[in-house]
Amino acid sequence: MSRGDLLEIARGVARAARDGEQIEAYVVRTRDTDVEVFGGEVESLTTASVEGVGIRVIAGGRQGLAWAGSLAADVIDETLKEARDNAGFGEPDEWYGLASLADVNGAAPPALDLWREELVSVSTEEKVRIALDLERATKAADTRIRNVESASYGDAFAEAALANSLGVEAHSRRTTCSASAVALADDGSSTQSGYGFVAGRTLSDLDLDSIPRDAATRACRLLGAKPVPGRRIPVILDPLVTRSVLGVLSSAFNGESMLKGRSLFAGRAGQVIGAPFLQLIDDPTDERALGASQFDGDGVPTRRNALIVDGVMQGFLHNVYTGRRSGAGTTASATRGISSTPGVGVRALRLEPGTKSPEEILRSAGEALFVQSVSGLHSGTNPISGDFSVGAEGLMVRDGAFAEPVREITVASTLQRMLLDITEVGSDLTFLPGAVAGLTLLVGEMTMSGA
């Protein structure tokens, strides 16, 4: 379903700009395959190709956007017309404007190779075989596995281009693939589910053997879990949980939230907000991160941005708009899809890893709660007030080892308190799908509520 070069399409739209008008076109095309298996059979096999365009028009200080899930020439024309019309109804803002060559400031995009040609030649049969093998291996991983609720393989070939009437252009493409399984463990009186997944840019990045192991371990070790009495207790966060917490925290560094009076850390730049050894970085130029990218959503080359250095808040992330309005300049942190104007966000957020392995952290924690997974993160945490209260399941830790499993409990604190209360950062930095990497974290004290 090739309709020519994406950058050419974007340029064609940008060239239509009239006097006093700025136009930006963001064009995407993705090819996906997704295999789901169940009970030794392919449950579904999906092959798809998606394309679309988002057109932003700024005229008279007003902004409008229109998008369409098609790159047909007549659809693009109609979309441009709609975007122009919409621009008439926004209110003027002196800081609106597309990225200019001054915003790029001569910066070259980081040299990142995010495309793996070999993934293109993997046959559908091979993809089906991976998923079927995964289901079989997960079922066999432990005698207590009653059922494999799902096993899947997916990959995507994505390409995006941006061009604007101020001469800024960007083009990038990437491959990604992932596999996962969900195991249901049963000990006769209770059921627990656990999942394993891996992701990378090509098949050889995927440690497929870890999936059945992780899914079975995570399900089986929670069998027999019960609520425990509430108290204040040290809490060890699994890397996947750390990832989720950092994801929520990231919006407090969002320049748009700050400008609109909705950031926890407004006015805190230069102040201590975390433990003195804490380093928080968003680095989309790090090829290991699956969110790595050469350009941001405004078309500006990405860069490494330090958010916390030695516990001290460094500043906020900005796109072109928030960078101008705040005077801080863009940090190349615009994020977007075709259906929205650029927002601000992280792409490759991580804590600088410490020196202790997860096992060493377990041994150093005394009596603690190990949190394997959390639920209700988005309803229970508030990046504006900092309130943090989530449902949790995991295991008690005693004498440096896992003890009884627990469920139906909550752990609570505030995001502000948690950053200050971190006592250990694990050495196990794990790059995960999405925009945030995980590692094991020890928080000195949180409130656990239970039975």
Binding site: S44, E149, G376, H378, S379, A412
Partner: protein, 466 residues
């Protein structure tokens, strides 16, 4: 609205082609969706956005395997290509060609009294937002930030399948959301209100932007006065409308046939047995007028219905899509839904309600010595395999000696779906619904939930009070 008319003979040829090399079932799903939205933030209209998305999803089922392909190209060639891709994906079963005979079309045009958003001037949509902003700010000087957004979508679908089914539907949904931040000595508190209905611009006759905004603002102001929530196992009263989402998450998902089929639901094997307090009757009603989850037909072309899932505490049915219903040799229940033509359908809820009981809501509150009264819940999450759930509470109060007293800050409710169903000790004679988006396996669809005031004997409340 220009609608992609796909000729009957093209649909027929596409289905025939899909079954050229064998297969038990083939389906064409065509969708044309237009949407518009606007956002007011920081005291001004930021921008209007319009969107257009159309295409077709082709499905071929052979044995237990479903092949699926989709395309944005609605020409005869585009559809035939997609049919081939879907058939190829389902490859492996027996051969033999079939000819499909499409039956009489069943059309569900839009109601005449719907005010189509596409016929409403954009200026009027923008005005709504400014009115909401002004009303929220006027509610109290501590309201420091207001975001209002407007969204409408008109979705036309067409379904044809190898059983001869041919049906279409045309739906409009409209929604207004207002988020407020209030700032006080205790820091910042946030609140929101977001009514939506399957109707057009006439939504704002029932829900004026001023009323919606004032409710959100008042909630944020109330939270400034809130005390930390208690922790532990406590009686919980869910105000009418507030708790439907809990029943949706904690019970509804476990009653979707795909979870049953995969032995991943606590409700498997419970048909005909008591699974809830006899006070509980749970229905899923896709035909309930104008609700956010209302449909004429589901995304597999079957008419929306009122399905009784739990009657007087006894499990009476699950929710079915075509594939799982075929496996069981029964009729689908009108619950086959998908986010868009790019997605495969699966059993999903529509409008899920706990039906009214006999008790006065005041008597329910009066019966509680110490507990919490939930007025609004945020999002929630459930593991259907275990029934364990968690919910954020976004507006709640302490009940002390039968009286509602102080507001409490953010807390989580955690529990187990089947346990909560059994611990429903009172059901009120009132009723209200709630608007939401339901996510499942990466697909988001509009749903509503609803319930009378309900007393749950005890649930774990995870607050931050020492």
């Amino acid at each position: 609205m220009t609608v992609p008319i796909i000729e009957r003979d093209v649909l027929q040829a596409t289905l025939d082609h899909a079954l050229d090399s064998g297969g038990d079932f083939a389906e064409v799903f065509v969708e044309d969706r237009r949407s518009s939205s606007g956002r007011f933030d920081d005291g001004r209209v930021e921008e209007l956005v319009s969107g257009r998305d159309r295409g077709a999803g082709l499905r071929v089922v052979r044995g237990d395997t479903t092949g699926f392909a989709h395309t944005a190209d609605l020409s005869r060639t585009g559809l035939l290509h997609a049919a081939e891709a879907a058939a190829g994906a389902a490859r492996g079963g027996g051969g033999g060609t079939r000819t499909v005979a499409l039956g009489a079309p069943s059309a569900h045009p839009i109601d005449g009294d719907v005010v189509l958003p596409e016929n409403v001037e954009k200026r009027r949509k923008v005005e709504l937002l400014a009115r909401a902003d002004a009303a929220a700010r006027a509610t109290g000087s501590a309201v420091t930030s207001v975001t209002a957004s407007y969204a409408d979508a008109r979705r036309r679908i067409l379904v044809a399948n190898s059983d001869g089914l041919l049906a279409d539907d045309d739906r409009v949904r409209t929604r207004l959301s207002v988020h407020c931040v209030a700032t006080g000595d205790t820091g910042m508190q946030t609140a929101h209100e977001a009514p939506g209905r399957t109707m057009g611009f006439e939504l704002f006759d029932d829900f004026t932007p001023e009323d919606v905004a004032r409710r959100a603002a008042q909630r944020a102001l109330t939270l400034l006065e809130a005390v930390p929530a208690p922790s532990g196992r406590l009686p919980v009263v869910l105000k009418r409308g507030a708790g439907g989402v809990l029943f949706h998450e904690a019970c509804g998902h476990g009653l979707e046939a795909d979870h049953i089929f995969k032995d991943a639901s606590v409700f498997k094997g419970q048909m005909g047995r008591p699974v809830a307090s006899p006070l509980v009757t749970l229905v899923d009603d896709g035909g309930y007028a104008h609700e956010w989850g209302t449909l004429a037909i589901d995304d597999e072309g079957h008419p929306a219905r009122r399905n009784v899932l739990i009657e007087d505490g006894v499990l009476t049915d699950y929710m079915w899509d075509v594939v799982r219903a075929r496996n069981e040799g029964r009729a689908p229940s009108g619950n086959g839904r998908r986010e868009s033509y790019r997605h495969l359908p699966m059993p999903r809820m529509t409008n899920t309600f706990v039906l009214e009981g006999a008790t006065e809501p005041d008597d329910i509150i009066g019966s509680v010595d110490f507990g919490i009264y939930c007025v609004q819940l945020g999002g929630g999450q459930v593991d259907p395999a275990t029934g364990d759930f968690v919910f954020g509470v976004t507006e709640a109060y302490l009940i002390e000696k039968g009286e509602i007293t102080r507001p409490i800050r953010a807390a989580q409710l955690i529990g187990n779906g089947p346990d909560v169903l059994r611990m429903v000790d009172a059901v009120g004679n009132d009723f209200e619904t709630w608007t939401g988006m339901c996510g499942k396996q990466g697909q988001s669809v509009p749903v509503s939930s609803g319930q009378p005031t309900v007393l749950v004997r005890e649930m774990t409340v995870g607050g931050t009070a020492a």
